[in-house]
């Protein structure tokens, strides 16, 4: 195995594209090193992207935020403007692992690891986040939900690398939230989860919404019917009920030791409903 620490995105892409064996990208390492330790992968080349200055910062632009692919989740928590604009995304990112893990792990890595139960991904999908990708044939930007292709698989081509996650600037009266169900209080993997992002008009009526579910299907789901159920409402009981039912109906979960299909379907609706209420309260005070 070889270890490389390129200084530029071009060099990183060049190394990945030229590698004939198996190449892995190292950002926080909290998935990669665990998979190596477990013998699930044996990379021939590890490309550490943390020496690439451009990937190590959160930039606030006219359009919103650009979170470099090597920014640890703990730095997101320590960036007040980001936390204020996107509290749900920041909270989701900081539910990953322990303090030790949060000092290393990244949302770009969480996305590329492509676990259906990744905590930050439903929050990013609800937020309408986009992934900036650099590769041998140039750069492209895609919706976050288009990156995972299945458990552990992504739509990235050879030599491609996610360089940043983009979050838009917020319209007034917007809020987001993420909730997961775990049987413990900390340090666990979501049994099922939901991210909700919404914007209100001056009268408190939801004008737009995005609802996402985690650990409910092979990839994180964007549930348009669930969002449709709350647009035009003030989250009255009937609207919340319709939101929950649409979420339960959209689930295609597995049965495993952490939860049954029936449990995941029901709790997906409960998580979405509670996350929507938190997002709504956040939107009202802005």
């Amino acid at each position: 195995m070889r270890y490389a620490r390129p200084r530029s995105i071009e060099d990183a892409v060049g190394l990945l594209a030229a590698e004939e064996g198996r190449a892995s990208i190292l950002a926080g390492g909290s998935d990669l090193l665990v998979r190596m330790k477990g013998g699930f992968i044996e990379p021939d080349l590890i490309v550490d992207i943390k020496a690439i200055e451009d990937l190590r910062e959160i930039r606030e632009t006219a359009e919103g935020f650009r979170i470099g692919a090597a920014v640890p989740c703990a730095i997101m928590r320590e960036t007040p403007a980001l936390k204020k604009a996107w509290p749900g995304v920041v909270e989701a990112a900081n539910l990953i692992g322990s303090k030790q893990v949060q000092g290393r792990c990244t949302i770009a890595g969480n996305l590329c690891n492509a676990s259906p139960a990744a905590d930050s991904v439903p929050a990013m999908v609800a937020a309408g986040a986009r992934a900036m990708i650099a590769g041998p044939s140039g750069t492209r930007t895609i919706a976050v939900e288009d990156l995972p292709a299945g458990p552990g698989r992504t739509s990235l081509g050879k030599g491609e690398i996610v360089t940043a996650i983009l979050l838009d600037k917020r319209p007034p009266r917007s809020g987001d939230a993420y909730l997961r169900f775990i049987p413990r209080t900390e340090m666990d993997i979501a049994v099922v989860s939901s991210g909700v992002n919404l914007t209100l008009d001056e009268k408190g009526v939801v004008t737009s919404a995005r609802v996402a579910l985690g650990a409910a299907a092979p990839t994180v789901l964007l549930v348009k019917e669930a969002a449709g159920a709350i647009v035009g409402t003030r989250l009255e009981e009937a609207a919340l009920q319709a939101l929950a039912e649409n979420c339960s109906a959209a689930c295609r979960p597995i049965d495993d030791k952490r939860g049954t299909i029936a449990f995941r379907k029901k709790v997906a609706g409960v998580m979405a409903r509670r996350a929507a209420m938190i997002a709504y309260d956040r939107a009202r005070v802005k």
Binding site: Y3, G28, G29, V34, K50, G97, K99, M187
Partner: protein, 159 residues
């Protein structure tokens, strides 16, 4: 032919150079190449926190860091916690409160508690419990550890 990756780093204030293989973790380098056996391997997968060290003021599991990544960084380990013969208040309070039995988790708990108090000098019990959730202890039941950290926090505030 080179026998590994040459790494220059700073550990507990001392400049250190070592050679390591690409797949070696920082924990393996500390223990097996540098003879610093304070950090322990519990799980090797970032779940137990026994290998906790501080890299550039950030608490990490050294089992989830490659040795090669230490290049140019500043690393603090349990070996640098006491000031000569004088124990750090956290170490002193862990002894006074009997916050350890077998001791395998203790270096990790001490590093995590040190990092916690550096960022939050006056934590509530809940903040301590959440702050130390990445460290597992199978002996104490945690209460004595929490009390030791509370007591050390009050000592350190008064200092």
């Amino acid at each position: 032919m080179m026998s590994g990756i040459a790494v220059s780093t700073t550990i507990n204030g001392d400049e250190v150079e070592f050679l390591c293989q690409a797949e070696e973790t920082l924990l393996e380098v500390l223990r097996d190449r540098l003879g610093m056996t304070g950090a322990k391997e519990g799980c090797g997968t970032g779940d137990c926190g026994a290998c906790s060290v501080i890299v550039d003021d950030r608490l990490v599991c050294s089992c989830l860091v490659l040795g090669a990544e230490a290049e140019g960084r500043r690393i603090d380990t349990i070996e640098g916690m006491a000031d000569g013969d004088k124990l750090h208040p956290l170490q002193q309070k862990f002894i006074e409160h009997a916050a350890l039995q077998c001791g395998i988790c203790t270096p990790g708990f001490l590093m995590a508690a040190k990092d916690l108090l550096a960022k939050n000098p006056d934590p509530t019990e809940e903040e301590i419990r959440f702050g130390l959730a990445g460290n597992l202890c199978r002996c104490t039941g945690y209460d004595k550890i929490v009390r030791a950290v509370q007591d050390a926090a009050s000592v350190m505030k008064g200092a």
